[in-house]
């Protein structure tokens, strides 16, 4: 654990005094030429970068309605100013959502509006110069695209849209971020964020099968590339190797086993995450989604289910139907081909939480909740699930279903403070392409509001377990919890809780406790 100026947890969340430019040098490592070129971006900052940047801004304004509407509509009321976890954790005024947008908006005004062209000083219009580009790079990589600001904005202005557009512009002039672009290169080449090839994945799954059988005496399978399976599971690759993610994967496998469904993973589409969204690039995001479409067609599956990953679920739920035709209600031939193959009696795609919840509702899963009695659990709503998706097709289902699944597996559940959960949830501090060690200071400080709420729940309700359903949240919490004197192992996958309490047919170890 490296030394950092970790913020102190007060009794209540405080709005900090402004500390101008305190995070001005927090920018992450830049992508090198190879990483840039592998995604079709210029290898390094091009000579006429200003001109190309302005052209690219013009393109985003023409292609995405959100951009001109959000840039024009802001009245600088300040409603969002104290809603961003990075502002609350750092006090840097450029981390106020409106100020972050203004980095983009001031250039927009200068080049695309009457007032900014002729009265730049009056309306705060600015040129896109070297120092502005520095600010863009630093501060558009201090936004986790969590959309909390959009919930409070009277016009729904979503800073995530602006951040994505800004990153898109920067990539177009050869100024990319190492973490995102390196990972995207691996997905493109191998199929997952880790760059884990098929044999390694197969070995990992076999090891897991052995481990589960040792633990439970039941031969729970984790099939790979099983043609003709009913269900294709798309999950973040972190589920294959990281802690506590892997215990979630074991949980999904047990649920599938218990339901008797035939399912499979795909070595070609072994990644649920889609960092194309983080960099605001439609084509790259679509490319990632198309791998899943191809895997579904090749394997002939009837259903596609997505594992625990926040932005993956936003991309799957909100964007897949657009990008690839995985969904329903298509009129075009392209999407109909896939939609005819998929079983439209089920939502397509479906979240693993929805799948487990349905089985619980139908009484097809039995739990020994006492297995989780050593835990008092609280649930962290992941931002992309909470504010970018739904579950169960009912209003607020994305808040309800995970909690119901947890409660089915645990006796002790308490929510954190209402202003920090559900639609108002605070980001873990590591989302949106910021989960990299070169941004550790930002990540620790950005976690402050969540840590504050957790601390409060620990003190008032004895919470000792933090359940999450996002690979990034789980990794981020494991890393930052110790900075706030919490146990890093208190973070668990929701399906780990399921896994620990689920009664498997033919499981000797659990049969005993069942009869107790």
């Amino acid at each position: 654990m490296s030394k950092l100026d970790t913020p102190k947890l007060e009794t209540y969340l405080q709005t900090p005094a402004l500390k101008s430019d305190s995070m001005a040098s927090s920018g992450p490592f830049k992508a090198n030429a190879d990483m840039q070129k592998s995604l079709g971006f210029p290898g390094e900052k091009i000579d006429n970068w200003q001109q190309v940047a302005i052209e690219k801004m013009g393109e985003t304004i023409e292609k995405y309605r959100s951009i001109p509407v959000f840039l024009d509509a802001c009245v600088k009321c300040g409603a969002c100013a104290d809603k961003c976890h990075y502002f609350l954790g750092t006090g840097d005024p450029k981390n106020m959502p409106v100020a972050r947008q203004d980095l983009f908006r001031s250039v927009y005004r200068r080049h695309f509006t009457f007032a900014g062209k002729y009265f730049p000083k009056l309306v705060g219009a600015k040129e896109f110069d070297e120092s502005m580009l520095d600010d863009w790079y630093n501060y558009f990589h201090q936004c986790s695209e969590c959309r909390r600001c959009s919930v409070y904005c009277p016009y729904g202005i979503d800073t995530a849209e602006i951040t994505m557009a800004a990153r898109e512009v920067m990539n177009a002039i050869g100024v990319g971020q190492k973490y995102c672009n390196q990972i995207l290169g691996k997905v493109k080449k191998i199929g997952n964020n880790l760059g884990m090839p098929e044999p390694a994945l197969r070995d990992t799954l076999l090891d897991l099968e052995e481990e589960i059988e040792e633990d439970t005496g039941v031969a729970v399978k984790l099939p790979l590339d099983n043609e003709g399976a009913e269900i294709l599971l798309i999950t973040p690759s972190a589920d294959f190797f990281a802690e506590p993610h892997i215990d979630g994967l074991i949980g999904y496998a047990k649920v599938f086993h218990q339901s008797g469904a035939s399912w499979t993973l795909s070595s070609y589409a072994s990644e649920g995450a889609n960092f194309g969204m983080f960099i605001g690039n439609y084509d790259i995001m679509r490319e990632g989604a198309l791998r899943i479409r191809k895997a579904a067609l090749d394997l002939g599956v009837k259903r596609i289910i997505v594992g625990e990953c926040g932005h993956a679920w936003r991309v799957a739920y909100s964007f897949w139907n657009t990008l690839t035709g995985i969904g329903g209600g298509a009129a075009d031939e392209y999407a109909l081909q896939l939609q005819n193959q998929l079983d439209q009696n089920y939502p397509q795609p479906q979240h693993i939480i929805e799948y487990t919840y349905d089985l619980i509702q139908k009484g097809q899963l039995a739990f020994d909740k006492s297995k989780n009695d050593h835990r008092t659990v609280t649930f962290h709503d992941s931002c992309n699930v909470a504010r970018g998706s739904n579950m169960g097709g009912i209003e607020n289902g994305q808040f309800l279903l995970p909690r119901e699944v947890i409660k089915a597996a645990c006796n002790n559940f308490v929510d954190m403070s209402e202003s920090t959960i559900k639609a108002s949830t605070f980001c873990c501090g590591g989302g949106g392409g910021l989960l990299t060690d070169d941004l550790l200071e930002l990540r620790v400080k950005g976690a402050l509001p969540r840590m504050q709420a957790l601390k409060q729940s620990e003190e008032t309700s004895g919470v000792n377990t933090l359940a999450a359903l996002c690979a990034i949240c789980k990794s981020q919490f494991s890393k930052v919890l110790p900075y706030y004197d919490f146990d890093p192992f208190m973070v668990v996958s929701v399906h780990q809780l399921v896994s620990e309490a689920l009664l498997l047919d033919g499981d000797n170890s659990q049969q005993e406790s069942k009869t107790l």
């Binding site: 402004l18 292609k63 995405y64 309605r65 001109p68 509407v69 959000f70 024009d72 509509a73 802001c74 009245v75 600088k76 009321c77 300040g78 409603a79 969002c80 100013a81 809603k83 005024p93 409106v98 100020a99 203004d102 009457f114 009056l122 309306v123 705060g124 959009s150 919930v151 409070y152 904005c153 009277p154 016009y155 729904g156 202005i157 979503d158 849209e161 679509r286 198309l290 191809k294 067609l297 739920y317 964007f319 139907n321 657009t322 990008l323 690839t324 035709g325 329903g328 209600g329 298509a330 075009d332 392209y334 795609p349 909470a386 504010r387 970018g388 739904n390 097709g393 607020n396 639609a423």
Partner: protein, 248 residues
């Protein structure tokens, strides 16, 4: 007609023209720009009816702002509703011929001037005294509030402090602007200042942040139905992309 009457009449038409043309162009721009992805923000409605309700909550009640900041909500909400009431109060001036009976009973609406000034002053004070809001304020943000306050104060002077102009002349000038039957303008300076500033306000509408008024209806995070899994939502440029690629 006096030069000043002519100048004011010309300025009125110019301001209204700028406003109408500018807002029309902006609305046309928003309406014709594609929305390639489903991006409703929580709490997202699952039906069109839900979207209508959500939009009404935002437009009439400022629901999100209420969640965000009670003070800003109070100042902003009072100011906007007072402005609506005062707009109604001004309708009889412009009504060609005999105004409907209901508009003759709008006299008490004049008191909306006070919540208007209260709200605007609160918003201005926040720009000076809340460091976060001060940081994000450009000169135009202060000036627009000052302009509105000055309009309100000149209105109050005329209505409550006996600086009123010849009301007969006001009626015929205002009605004349609409019916193209121009007549002489009263020459009291408070009145002239009042309407001059209102014309400025109208003229700068489409080049200022007042675009939030049409903008809110086009905000995809607020106006989209959350039904991405049920209906395929796709923009024209994305369809072209699909046709041009054989993958998948």
């Amino acid at each position: 007609m006096s030069l000043i009457s002519i100048l004011f009449a010309v300025f009125f038409y110019l301001a209204v023209l700028l406003c109408l043309v500018g807002v029309t162009l902006k609305v046309a721009q928003y309406a014709s720009t594609p929305v390639p992805l489903k991006i409703p923000t929580a709490p997202a409605p699952l039906t069109k009816f839900g979207v209508v309700l959500r939009m009404m909550r935002e437009v009439f009640l400022f629901a999100s702002l209420f969640r965000a900041s009670k003070w800003t909500w109070l100042f902003g909400w009072l100011f906007h509703w007072a402005l609506v009431l005062l707009f109604i109060r001004h309708l009889p001036y412009f009504w060609p011929g005999e105004a409907p009976q209901i508009l003759h009973q709008t006299e008490p609406l004049k008191y909306a001037a006070f919540p208007l000034i209260f709200g605007l002053s609160g918003l201005l004070a926040r720009r000076f005294f809340v460091d976060r809001v001060r940081y994000i304020s450009a000169p135009s943000d202060y000036l627009l509030l000052l302009l509105l306050i000055a309009i309100a104060l000149t209105g109050v002077l005329m209505t409550f402090a006996h600086y009123y102009p010849d009301m007969g002349m006001v009626y015929s000038f205002a009605e004349g602007l609409i019916t193209l039957n121009w007549s002489e303008l009263p020459s009291e300076s408070v009145f002239l200042a009042h309407i001059f500033m209102v014309f400025v306000l109208i003229a700068i509408f489409p080049i200022s942040k007042m675009l939030h008024a049409p903008g809110v209806f086009f905000s995809p995070t607020l106006n989209q139905v959350d039904d991405a899994r049920k209906k395929r939502h796709i923009s024209d440029w994305a369809i072209d992309k699909e046709k041009n690629s054989k993958s998948g």
